[in-house]
Point group: C2
Chain length 125, copies 2
């Protein structure tokens, strides 16, 4: 963890990076685009599963799938500046977000986002 | 409630009607057929809802619909002889079962099933 003396660009009481107005706009747009893509995938998978329903267990499998995805999406897309670099890093790692969409963020934040992505990539290989 | 002295055709300790082997076969077949029809309707409605999904709220509406129907079906299709006439009456009232499917049950049971159906019909009009 960074010591308080090294946090000139952070809120001293929370040790959080400061997001400028333009950075907030960029991050929000990227976040919303990633969410839209992930939801689009859930819609497509739902329609595929629904079209293949043959028996009652397929119905409850679809229900279970929807419940799991809703909970996962609710948990993941929690837009708070205090951990936004982690969220964006995770979304990049999962392929919902391209780095080019974050163009305009300060290098410090991009580094933090990339490093989260790299950490997750190592964890899952 | 019927007094113990009037329950010659019942299990004395539970006040339940006795189901003969052939009546059990008829009841089970009718029960399964009703369940099959209800599930078929849920499958059709699910496929219709899925094909019309436009946005995330439609996904969670489908999830909610499936959860509600699963719970309702689980609750309703509880095959126990102790209240089978009530269940069959309810299924007839809801249109999942035709009286002709119960042909072969003793008149006493048919009366009980019809009377449940009539009671529910009055309750909901």
């Amino acid at each position: 963890m960074t010591s308080p003396s090294a946090t000139q660009d952070r809120y001293p009481h929370q040790n959080e990076p400061i997001w400028s107005r333009s950075e907030k706009t960029i991050a929000r747009k990227a976040f919303d685009a990633a969410l839209g893509r992930e939801l689009h995938e859930v819609i497509q998978e739902t329609q595929k599963m629904a079209s293949q329903i043959q028996q009652s267990s397929d119905l409850w499998d679809l229900e279970h799938y929807l419940t799991q995805r809703r909970k996962e999406i609710d948990r993941k897309y929690d837009y708070r500046y205090s951990h936004l670099t982690l969220i964006l890093g995770k979304l990049m790692h999962e392929g919902w977000l391209g780095e080019e969409e974050l163009h305009g963020l300060r290098e410090e934040k991009l580094k933090s986002i990339r490093s989260t992505g790299e950490f997750l990539a190592k964890e899952w290989t």
